[in-house]
């Protein structure tokens, strides 16, 4: 794949900051849309389900986009893309946290015993919660200060957890959809994530060999 034009690769820092804000706005748009539709009655007959599904969908979209940053950077030579990665990852975490909040609020009305029972009993929920729990240390250690404190190597090792979290998220979605025989979408996610992870393996092997 040819590199991106030099003008794009060598974008000035200020322009990169503008792109960063645009990306943040873009990533926040689905949330703003849910909130505004929620207040205007635009979420249909089952708005709570629409919120649960909407936040879940966008968690997966943003996780895929976050995972795509490094391959895209390597393929195009646009190195400043890495500056978007933390923000995108944190936005994915925000949607994940909202998705979980929807679950404990709308489905269980904060009944801790019922929530726990559901998590333990239902594998697809267990998997979703494991993915959330694994994401918490990544969100906490996302600041520059934490990177320094951990040291780059240990930080990078910890953040490889993302390679576990994203497949768990896809499995969670797959399991939920399979009950209604609707696997086209989960399958698409699985293929995208598999490609993004396979590229990494390929590069690693090439670097080693």
């Amino acid at each position: 794949m040819p590199l991106a034009p030099a003008a794009v690769r060598n974008l000035r820092p200020r322009a990169v900051t503008v792109v960063w804000w645009l990306m943040l706005l873009l990533a926040a748009t689905p949330l703003l849309r849910l909130v505004s539709l929620g207040f205007t009655g635009g979420l249909g007959a089952n708005p709570l389900e629409a919120i649960t599904h909407g936040t879940g969908d966008w968690t997966l979209y943003l996780l895929c986009i976050t995972l795509a940053v490094t391959p895209l950077r390597k393929l195009t030579g646009i190195n400043w893309l890495v500056r978007m990665r933390r923000m995108l990852g944190l936005m994915a975490f925000l949607y994940m946290a909202l998705h979980f909040t929807a679950f404990i609020w709308f489905d269980h009305f904060f009944d801790v015993a019922a929530i726990w029972k559901d998590i333990v009993k239902r594998p697809f929920i267990t998997i979703g919660v494991i993915a959330l729990v694994l994401s918490i240390p990544l969100a906490i250690t996302s600041t520059n200060g934490m990177v320094r404190r951990l040291g780059g190597k240990r930080w990078a090792l910890l953040h490889r957890l993302i390679y576990v979290i994203v497949p768990l998220g896809v499995l969670h979605y797959w399991w939920d959809k399979s009950g209604k025989n609707l696997i086209a979408q989960p399958l698409l996610f699985a293929v995208i994530v598999a490609v993004l992870l396979a590229l990494r393996l390929l590069w690693r092997r090439r670097a080693a060999g």
């Binding site: 007959a45 089952n46 709570l48 709308f106 559901d118 239902r122 697809f124 939920d176 025989n181």
Partner: protein, 324 residues
């Protein structure tokens, strides 16, 4: 502080109160104009579309049967007609309302066959007139964990069964629904084995609650709700209530049903509403009443047989964990 409400203080809205009349009329006049425009366009196929529109929204008067009217707030007409599972018209719940306009409900024939004295076919008009229509307000509980309260119009399926004169061999009833890919875009997806089929044991089918249904909210069924004729079985999960029925068969053996064929471990033949038997992926102990529960109130407890304890006698001696 506990606020107590006496049953006589509960106001039950009638169908016409839920969606304002102006809204109904505006919608119909819009549809009428669309239909008229299509007819003016002079395109052959559009005549059928116009007549389908003429069917939709037609009044279907019936006297309320108080013995079968739940004292709960009815679901808004808009919610009941825009949040549907009808995979023949798409898998999203908003799809049927968008896509079901292509369903041609007139003429419509229903064949009665199998273990009967003599098979026969009735057109919709004759079928509708077989017994006096009554309005019944039933709870509807979907296997997915949500519920509605809907005023249906129809008569007990038992009236048709009597007319069909099933033989002694008839142990089950099967409902076969329309499967025409020209009218139903969803059939191109092999999600289920089409046509969608459902079934009942004879004694279940003869239970007075089983309603052969032609209308809701005082009008003929909207296409997305299973026009022109469906079955409504309020003590079972919604998917048992087959829509747009074209044949009713009397059988010796338990029929194969659509969801059961797809995932027998998740969707049993009986599929009675049962809060103590969970679906493998979610609890059936509670439900979200559409338009009411969730934001500020927890989901409500699901009742055994969806609150229709009349049917309990049909299942005496059966292990409902095994026959879910």
């Amino acid at each position: 502080m506990l606020i107590k409400i006496r049953p006589d203080q509960i106001e039950i809205p009638t169908a016409s109160e839920i969606t304002p009349r102006e809204v109904y009329l505006a919608r119909r006049s819009f549809m009428g104009r669309v239909a008229a425009g299509a007819a003016l366009a002079g395109m052959g196929g559009f005549g059928a579309v116009a007549s389908a529109f003429a069917q939709q929204g037609r009044k279907l008067p019936a006297k309320l049967n108080n013995a079968y009217a739940v004292m709960e707030k009815q679901t808004a007409y808009k919610d009941a007609t825009t949040y549907n599972n009808y995979y023949e018209f798409g898998t999203d719940k908003a799809d049927p309302a968008k896509n079901a306009g292509t369903l041609k409900t007139s003429p419509w024939m229903v064949t009665i066959e199998g273990e009967v004295k003599k098979p026969f076919t009735l057109d919709l008009d004759a079928l509708t007139k077989l017994a006096p229509l009554e309005e019944r307000i039933y709870r509807l509980r979907c296997v997915e964990g949500w519920s509605m309260v809907i005023p249906w119009v129809g008569y007990s399926l038992s009236a048709l069964i009597k007319k069909a004169e099933p033989t002694g061999n008839a142990k089950y009833v099967e409902f076969v629904t329309l499967a025409d890919s020209k009218q139903m875009p969803g059939l191109n997806d092999p999600i289920l084995k089409w046509p969608y089929r459902e079934g009942l044991r004879m004694d279940e089918a003869n239970h007075p609650l089983a309603l052969l249904t032609f209308g809701m909210y005082g009008e003929v069924l909207p296409n997305q709700n299973g026009a022109p004729v469906r079955i409504v079985l309020p003590w079972k999960y919604g998917f048992k209530s087959a829509k747009s029925i074209v044949a009713i068969r009397f059988l010796k053996e338990e029929p194969k049903t659509a969801w059961n064929l797809y995932a027998p471990q998740e969707y049993g033949f009986y599929s009675n509403v049962n809060p103590s038997v969970d679906h493998p992926r979610w609890s059936q102990a509670t439900e979200r009443r559409i338009g009411e529960d969730g934001f500020f109130a927890p989901k409500r407890k699901t009742l055994m047989f969806n609150g229709y304890n009349d049917v309990a006698g049909l299942y005496t001696g059966m292990d409902l964990r095994k026959f879910y």
